[in-house]
């Protein structure tokens, strides 16, 4: 997207200018967890510097330290060559550092104007400040093509515009260095491209941009330099032109990665999950699901691709019975299901539907419960776990021990609280519980989010095994690579609708286009 020619003048290594930001020996621990260790990093002025790494590699922590949101245990920060102590965000702002967080830091009930002026009101009374902010906003909007209505309420704006407000906030505060933490997670590919154009423009005006992401494509497209983080450390820093996605991936995980999942051709059987005309309107009157219809056959994996927030979560919640639908039909193995009943997850389970939810911390597990109690969550009414009203603790524990052995859950202690397991092992607890009963249908959301590489391979292999055993699998993931690697068919969702279906051979570009709601026939024109 960005023109390589535009960057060149800014990247003269001979220039003796001090770097915009230099981090020296930054260390940060959260209790026993060392989130950052001995970080050394130079970020040259007037560049877009990418920081790439897996979930949990310590990228966000590092940037939060730079922004003063956390305080480092050790190390030094230099801005323009001068060491400064950044103890809070206001000191970072004063030093010309701005940050756009992954979860926007906006007051939803406020207007754009109020959000921008919060903290820089320019006087005890709002009146004078507001006029100044409005004028300055108009100038910034002109300079950077960042149009947004200053009097619109944040909660009425789409996420793409909310992100612009965040950028405007930082620019209004005079940010010379702008940090963006995973900015594209909620954007369509087209919105993401627009964002990268804005960033390039900022760079060309001499500002510095730090882009945190775990998506290699974005690094390759948007950045000048890139640093790779792994397990709290910076393991490499290089020019983007001198590296490749494969090399970066290897640095990220520390070994060669198989990006493809080994699997045989699917042998689909009879339709097991039949969905027709599903619709859902949320409490604010927004249509979340709009006439969704599809089938899944026994022995196939159907992936749902889409930008986060386009109805995938609601689809899973409705199918699994966590939420009622406004209308539509659902049949499980030929058996019609009442979609208008609330809290129907238990009856879906009885029909042979299992569900690995997107949010394992809030839905899939009760983190304050022990491992063995979590192993029966949702199945606590089963006859094997007790008699009548009572639960049988021994049976529950024996059962959990079997899971632990089969799925290699560590540490192997059924009495340990779920909160004390790593992300990968927590996910295994959920998977073991949901897969082990041989369900007819498995609904899986973000199966590898926040999970280490070793566990990802294990989880993928298990999903394929389930498929080969005849299970119908619905896979929802924001990772296009995962969708393409595992699925036998791919449904694309946008704005609550299924906008297309493709085979696994579909290119990322084609799927990306579909995800914006543009059908292939339109795209062809």
């Amino acid at each position: 997207m960005t023109e390589a020619a535009l960057r060149d003048p800014m990247r003269d290594p001979a220039a003796a200018r001090p770097p915009a930001i230099e981090l020296v020996g930054i260390d940060k621990s959260f209790g026993p967890v060392r989130a950052n260790r001995d970080i050394h990093l130079r970020i040259e002025k007037g560049t877009i510097h990418g920081i790439v790494g897996e979930n949990g590699a310590g990228k966000s922590t590092l940037m939060s330290i730079l922004y003063g949101y956390y305080h480092a245990d050790a190390g030094q920060i230099l801005v323009d060559g001068k060491p400064i102590d950044i103890r809070s965000p206001d000191e970072a702002i004063a030093a010309g550092i701005g940050m756009v967080f992954q979860h926007f830091m906006l007051v939803d009930t406020f207007t754009v104007l109020e959000n921008v002026m919060l903290g820089v009101e320019g006087g005890a009374r709002l009146k004078g400040g507001a006029a100044k902010v409005r004028a300055e906003l108009q100038r910034l909007e002109r300079d950077f093509v960042l149009e947004v209505d200053p009097d619109a309420r944040i909660e009425d704006l789409p996420v793409g515009l909310q992100q612009r407000v965040e950028i405007l906030k930082a620019l209004y505060r005079g940010a010379e260095t702008l940090i963006l933490d995973e900015p594209t997670g909620v954007l369509t590919p087209a919105e993401a491209d627009h964002l990268f154009r804005i960033l390039a423009q900022l760079r060309d005006q001499g500002r510095t941009v730090i882009l945190i992401t775990h998506k290699l494509r974005e690094i390759m497209e948007a950045t000048d330099n890139v640093s790779v983080m792994r397990r709290g450390e910076i393991v490499a820093t290089m020019k983007t032109t001198e590296t490749s996605p494969a090399a970066l991936a290897e640095e990220m995980v520390g070994r060669r990665v198989l990006l493809r999942v080994e699997k045989a051709e699917a042998k689909p059987g009879a339709p097991i999950l039949e969905v027709a005309d599903l619709s859902l309107t949320d409490s604010r009157g927004v249509k979340r699901l709009d006439d969704v219809s599809f089938d899944i056959r026994a022995g196939e994996i159907v992936g749902v691709a889409g930008v986060a927030g386009n109805g995938q979560s609601e689809l899973m919640e409705v199918l699994s019975g966590m939420r009622k639908a406004d209308g539509g039909r659902l049949a499980i193995d030929g058996e019609p299901v009442d979609l208008t009943r609330p809290a129907a997850a238990a009856s879906r389970r009885r029909l042979g539907l299992a569900h690995v939810p997107e949010d394992r911390h809030r839905a899939g597990l009760v983190t304050a419960f022990s491992e063995d109690e979590n192993a029966i969550l949702g199945y606590h009414d089963d006859a094997h776990y007790g008699r009548g009203l009572f639960l049988d603790r021994r049976a529950i524990r024996d059962h959990a021990v079997r899971h632990i052995e089969q799925y290699d859950i560590r540490p192997p202690d059924p009495r340990l609280k779920a909160a004390n397991f790593s992300g990968g092992n927590q996910q295994k607890i959920v998977l073991a519980r949901e897969m082990e009963r041989g369900p007819k249908i498995l609904i899986v959301g973000q199966p590898t989010r926040g999970v280490d590489i070793g566990a990802i391979e294990f989880i993928h292999a298990r999903l394929v095994e389930m498929r080969d055993a005849g299970c119908a699998i619905l896979l929802v993931s924001v990772e296009l690579d995962e969708i393409r690697g595992l699925s036998d068919r791919i449904l694309v969702m946008c704005g609550g609708r299924i906008v297309g279906e493709r085979g696994p051979e579909a290119s990322e570009a084609e799927l990306g286009l579909l995800m914006t709601g543009i059908s292939s026939t339109e795209a062809a024109q």
Binding site: A343, F369, D381, L389, D452
Partner: protein, 387 residues
């Protein structure tokens, strides 16, 4: 000025046995130290006061009887708060639910006391007091589950509504004709619960004229039943799941509406049962404001006992001792009125509830200093870097 520091709470851990013993003890100790300072403020000796208090509560049979009589109230209201806690609900309405429970058991006694012996009235009174309490808790529970009302505010409002309603009933309808007292007539033997002197006599304790009655046994049975309910039954599993994570409850196929309503009804029933103790066990009539704050003491008891029946029994006895010992104390040291108990109650709620974690970071730090040499071998153990 005040700067929020990132806390490391929850990462470094105290061993469970310390967490469950030392932390509550320290919290309660802090409450008593401050109470001691308040006693000093009015120029009296806290040490002397404690002496009178302990003697008054445990020094002789009748004192013990009174201590356990009060403890009975607090066990039931404490359990009521605890059951709601486990479902993630804060039921401040124990006071009103107990008040309505009093109406239930009074009606049973008024209907039956002239015709049948106490053991026929008893199960009816039990059912009606629990039932009335449950219904009074059901409404806020249902409004919270179905209509999204804030349960704390609604239960507080229901306390006031109950108070007005009961005054109206007692003044206008339940007081005997010609009586100016806003209370029912005195029940006969058919509406009087037996005392427990036979139970304590073999132990060499003479409970004398204290009103300790079989409601005490009801309370103990309730403790056992609540323990079984919460930790041993499928319903308890569902209640705890909802309490920890409403999303997980939905995921697990548990209806939040159903569990909220059930938990509130159990909670209200327990609070309602408390009325048996003063109404049928002691006064043999229904009086205005007979609950006397026991519903609120239940909050302190549940927090102090960490919503576990064993903790609740211990905390109830402590508060029972304060009530009984406090009465003795007010007699021996006139400057210290029984209102001191309310101060202590407030401080216990503050330290065991709102400031629950105050001592933990210090303790955790202290523990890590003591235990470090033994744990070095484990330091290299891989840990997930949480985001």
């Amino acid at each position: 000025m005040t700067k929020i520091r990132s806390r490391t709470r929850g990462t470094a851990r105290l061993p469970a046995w310390l967490d469950y013993s030392l932390v509550p003890v320290l919290n309660v100790a802090a409450a008593f130290v401050i109470s001691g300072l308040v006693v000093l403020l009015v120029g009296e000796s806290p040490i002397e006061a404690v002496g009178y208090l302990v003697y008054g509560a445990f020094g002789y049979g009748e004192g013990i009887g009174f201590t356990l009589f009060y403890a009975t109230n607090f066990m039931l209201t404490g359990l009521a708060v605890a059951v709601a806690f486990h479902a993630g609900l804060f039921n401040i309405g124990g006071e009103g639910q107990a008040y309505l429970g009093g109406l239930g058991c009074a009606l049973a006694a008024l209907m039956l006391d002239r015709y049948v012996p106490w053991w026929v009235t008893f199960p009816v009174a039990l059912a009606l007091s629990a039932g009335f309490g449950a219904v009074w808790a059901l409404i806020p529970g249902w409004l919270s589950a179905k209509r999204g009302s804030h349960i704390v505010i609604t239960t507080i409002m229901f306390n006031f509504i109950a108070a007005s309603f009961m005054v109206w009933l007692l003044v206008e309808h339940l007081s005997p004709i010609g009586s100016m007292q806003p209370e029912t007539r005195t029940f006969g033997p058919g509406g009087t619960l037996p005392k427990l002197d036979w139970l304590f006599a073999p132990l060499g304790i003479d409970i004398g004229t204290s009103p300790l009655n079989i409601t005490f046994l009801v309370a103990l049975a309730a403790c056992l039943l609540v323990y079984l309910l919460i930790w041993r039954t499928r319903l308890g599993f569902e209640i705890r799941t909802l309490g920890h994570s409403p999303t997980a409850a939905l995921y697990a196929g548990i209806s939040p509406v159903r569990i909220t309503v059930i938990a509130m009804m159990i909670s209200g029933a327990l609070a309602g049962l408390m009325a048996l103790n003063p109404v049928l066990g002691d006064q043999q009539r229904l009086q205005i404001d007979f609950v006397g704050g026991a519903g609120f003491v239940g909050i302190a008891v549940a927090l102090m006992g960490r919503a576990h029946p064993v903790g609740i029994v211990l905390a109830s006895i402590l508060f029972g001792a304060l009530y009984q010992g406090g009465a003795e104390l007010a007699f021996d040291m006139p400057a210290i009125s029984r209102d001191m108990i309310v101060v202590i109650q407030g401080l216990v709620i503050l330290f065991a509830g709102a400031l629950e974690h105050m001592f933990r970071p210090g303790l955790t730090h202290g523990w890590s200093l003591i235990s470090r040499p033994r744990e070095t071998g484990e330091a290299g153990r891989p840990k997930e870097i949480a985001r």
